[in-house]
Every structure is written in C-alpha cells, then in structure tokens.
C-alpha cells in the first residue's frame, strides 16, 4: 500500500490547480491519478481560443491553457500517474486504482480532491424515435474525432442543443467543409454564450431554431435524415410543424452530467440540481477530508472559474492535512430564493475568516433584474444586472465581516427580483 498526503482524482484543469495550490501551501506528498494518456483533461480537444481571459489576462486555446498548468506540475515533485483509473474510494480515504504498469494500486490518503469532470448527456437520455444507425454522436465525441484524431465524422450535419460545445462544433465542422444545416434548441433561449452564437453561427449563416427539437432519426446503416418539430409551451412537439431534414450526422449538445460514481459510492451527499457533491466554502464534502472542484462539482462555463474554484479546494485540503483549518465549524446552509436554480457552496462555515463567494445559475433569462443577497432577513446587497441567463454562471459575495455576525441559526438566501 502507498501512502500520500493528498490524492487528486483527475488531471484536468481542476485537478492540476488543486494539486498545485496544495503544494504551494506546503503539502508534501501529492499524487494525481488521471484516466487519460496525458494531463489536461477536456482542454486537449478544445482547440478554439477563449480560455484564460480572466485568469491569465490573455486569450489562449484549450491546449495552451492546459500546457501552462502541466508545465507547473512538472516543475514540482507532484507524482502523476496517467492511464490510471480510480475504481473506489472507501470511508477511510483508501483509494483503489488500476493501471497496466502497476496493476492494482491501494493508496491511503489523508485528504482527497475529487476532480473527475463531467460527461455529456447521451442519446439514450433523450427519447428520440428511430434506428440505431451510425452518424449520431455527442458534440464532444465529434470534437475528439476532428481535433485529436484528425477524422471528419460527417458532411451534412444537424446539431441538437445549443450548448457551447454544440455551437463550437457547428463552426469547426463548417471550417472543415461540412454543411451544418441547422442547430435546434428545445428551450426558447440558447444554453450557450452570446459570443458563440455570433462567432460560431451568425458568422457562417447557420440557422438557430429555438423551441425546436429532433423527434425522429431516419436511416438504416447510416443516418439519412432527421425529423424536427417546434415545441409548445410544455415542450411537446407540435405535429403540424414537423419537417424532414436530410443529413448524415446528428450531434447532440444537450447538457453535461458531473461524473460522480466514485462520490456516490463513498456515500457523499449529492445536490439534486447540480448533480455534484454538497460542499462548504472550501469545497469540502460532508465526508471529512474529501473535497470536490471543477465540473464534477457543478458544470462551469469558463475554465478560469474552474481553476479558481480548484485552488480553493487545494487550499482547503492543505489546511485539513496540515491542521490549519478553523478549529470550530458552524455550518449555515445557503438557500435558493426566487429565480435561483442552485447555489455553490451549499453550506458555509461561518467561522471561516475570509470573504465567501456564492456561485449560482438562474432558471430563465432576466433583463434588468436585481440579484439580492439576504442574511437573517436583512438585505446585504441588491445589485441590478443588465442581463441574467441560465447559460451564464453568476456570483455574489458574503464579506468576512458579515460572516462574523452569523451563528448556527442564521439564514443565507440569494434571489432574483424583477
């Protein structure tokens, strides 16, 4: 059995940032376990630019952003094991992993950072009628084919879902000579960033049809076409609006699911909205010494925020390992008010001496609405935002001074006021 102070599960941007921060805080023995062949996670296939504007103050591509962290990890004595799959974490923080070289690995950890990221909702999660012909894949799978394998998966493309990966792939396929016929979005608004609608769809005259979905796929061996239809207010397809579109490829960009099998096996509480662990302000789960950060905790829009959140988790893990965490913990749950779908962290230790940032997403598009933070019934902040959208993560800050005034009976609520 191996002994480490900190085991980090996942070597993407979250895992690397957490491990580096813990190292910086003085943790000695750290190991990163990564399932893929290299560190970097999903960034390796995100070759478009737009990464790092907040964190590095410059615009980088995904691989460039990852490379900066890979370089930093390589300059430390952090141990990295790639091609290594973590199979289990038990209640005593014993990690079981496997790879071709070492066989079965048992690693006893003082603390663990969960940074497994997320995966895409697959076709099976949507109820689309039709055969199981080839040519139907998630947008991320298509992105891997094109950007890492150098392989074009199709020529005439329909995309269902207007999340950022779908929009990015609409442009990528167009650049490589494919015809992207339409991007359909079930909701009356896009799930992607506005800039991506402009630079990925509008620039190439690719139509975006809102309140529209794919109801049937056609084709025997290879996809030959899809039937799309508009949906009513209850998101049900309207029969009279059905339309056949010829295509050989259907890409799905219909949401991301945090990959929390390991988390659930330990018995860690999961938030039903985020599908990630319930955590405190240092991203510690309800299982002592186990932290979670990045897309495994809640799906982020920007890697810069993943990095910053993971540094918090790395610091939290270091404090835990080195005995620097606040001796006393008094937890207050954060409550979602009108218009707020979820809040991370779900609970705050009011004995924490620092400001705490609460991240959240709204349920629909608001223009000129106010974001209100209420503590013990008092309005602490009320700020007007020009626009709030489900596709864009927002935040509010609780100052250290406010935290100091709170006790176990306190309440924290964030709501939207129109």
């Amino acid at each position: 059995m191996l002994n480490y102070d900190l085991v980090v599960v996942g070597g993407g941007p979250a895992g690397m940032a957490a491990a580096l921060k813990a190292k910086e805080c003085g943790v000695e023995r750290i190991i990163i376990l990564e399932r893929a062949e290299t560190l970097g996670g999903i960034l390796e296939q995100c070759i478009h630019s737009g990464f790092g504007l907040t964190y590095f103050k410059e615009e980088l591509s995904g691989p460039e952003y990852a490379a900066r962290f890979i370089d930093m990890v390589e300059k430390t004595d952090i141990v990295v094991k790639c091609d290594t799959m973590v199979l289990d974490i038990d209640e005593n923080n014993l990690v079981t992993a496997v790879n071709k070289k070492d066989g079965l690995l048992k690693i006893q950890a003082k603390a663990i950072v969960l940074a497994m990221g997320c995966r895409e909702r697959p076709r099976g999660a949507l109820e689309i009628a039709g055969t199981r012909c080839s040519g139907i894949m998630t947008a991320g799978t298509a992105q891997k084919y094109v950007n890492l394998d150098g392989y074009m998966p199709g020529k005439k493309v329909v995309i269902l879902g207007s999340g950022d990966i779908g929009l990015i792939m609409a442009r990528r396929m167009t650049l490589e000579g494919a015809e992207v016929k339409v991007v359909c979005e079930l909701m009356p608004y896009s799930g992607g960033l506005n800039r991506n609608i402009v630079q990925c769809l509008n620039d190439y005259n690719i139509p975006l049809r809102l309140s529209t979905t794919v109801v049937e796929t056609h084709g025997k061996d290879r996809l030959e076409g899809v039937t799309i239809a508009q949906v009513d207010d209850h998101l049900q397809p309207i029969e009279s609006t059905k339309e056949y579109i010829e295509c050989d490829t259907l890409m799905l960009s219909v949401g991301l699911i945090p990959e929390n099998e390991l988390t659930k096996n330990v018995g860690i509480a999961i938030d039903r909205v985020t599908n990630g662990a319930v955590v405190d302000e240092m991203r510690q789960t309800d299982h002592k010494g186990v932290f979670a950060c990045g897309n495994v905790l809640h799906v982020h829009d920007l890697v810069d925020f993943v990095t910053m959140e993971s540094q918090l988790a790395g610091q939290g893990a270091a404090d835990y390992i080195l005995g620097n965490a606040p001796a006393e913990a008094v937890y207050v749950n954060t409550t979602t008010g009108n218009g707020v779908r979820y809040l991370v962290p779900q609970r705050v230790n009011v004995k924490n001496p620092n400001d705490v940032k609460l991240y959240f997403r709204v349920g629909k598009i608001y223009k000129g609405a106010k974001v209100v933070l209420e503590i013990d019934g008092r309005i602490i902040s009320s700020k007007k935002r020009p626009k709030l959208a489900p596709g864009e993560m927002e935040n509010v800050i609780i100052s250290a001074a406010e935290l100091a005034k709170m006790d176990e009976n306190s309440t924290i609520t964030v709501r939207v006021e129109e």
Partner: protein, 117 residues
C-alpha cells in the same frame, strides 16, 4: 447608420450600439471595456476573426496538432486560410508557438501550433 452588435472579445458578450456613416464610426456605446470599443470599430470597417484548426503531423503521437492564427485575420479570408492550413504537414516534434505557416496569404499573421506533439 446604427448597428447593434454582440461583442465577441470576451465571454461577457456585451450588447454594443455603433453609430457610423460609411466607414466612419461616430460613436460606440454599451461596451464595458476598451476591447469592446476596438471590436465594434473593426467590426464596422473590416471585421476580423481568429481561427483555430489542426494540421497533419508526421511521426507524432497524434495524427494532427492544433493550430491558430497568431492575430485576427479578415473574416472574408477565413476559408482561403483554411485551405492553406489543410495543405501543410509538419514533422514531429512540434512545440507550442512553433510557426507552421508564416505570413499566411500575405496577411502578416502566422499560423502557429498550440500544442506539443
């Protein structure tokens, strides 16, 4: 003339209003930073974009390596630029920032690798 734009300079995606006559920009409003102002002005006169793609690698780990334009190129040249990118092939090892195509189509912009291979 008045045009409403969505800024693509950063993920905020500010709504910008530009007033202009011909190619002369009279006013830019709605932007929340300097980059937004610059974006709006170029968008009216000569819209430009960065592009990212891949080029073939011989002897590398992966069959392709990602590349990008070192600076934005005119929007009208995007597909010509893609043709150039699809015509080249590099030998491994490739390093980040390595120039794969210098001065593509005479734009003064290089095509550079964005990963190692």
């Amino acid at each position: 003339m008045k045009r409403e734009l969505t800024c693509v300079a950063c993920p905020l995606g500010c709504s910008i209003t530009v007033e202009y006559e011909g190619t002369e920009v009279l006013s830019v409003t709605g932007n929340t930073c300097k980059r937004g102002d610059e974006y709006a002005r170029t968008e009216i006169v000569n819209p430009t974009r960065n592009i990212a793609s891949t080029v073939k690698v011989v002897g590398g780990v992966h069959p392709v390596v990602p590349v990008k334009t070192s600076a934005p190129i005119p929007k009208t040249m995007i597909f010509d630029c893609m043709k150039e990118i699809n015509n080249v092939c590099v030998n491994a090892p490739v390093s980040i920032g390595q120039v794969v195509i210098p001065n593509v189509l005479g734009t003064g912009v290089d095509i550079v690798a964005t990963n190692i291979d």
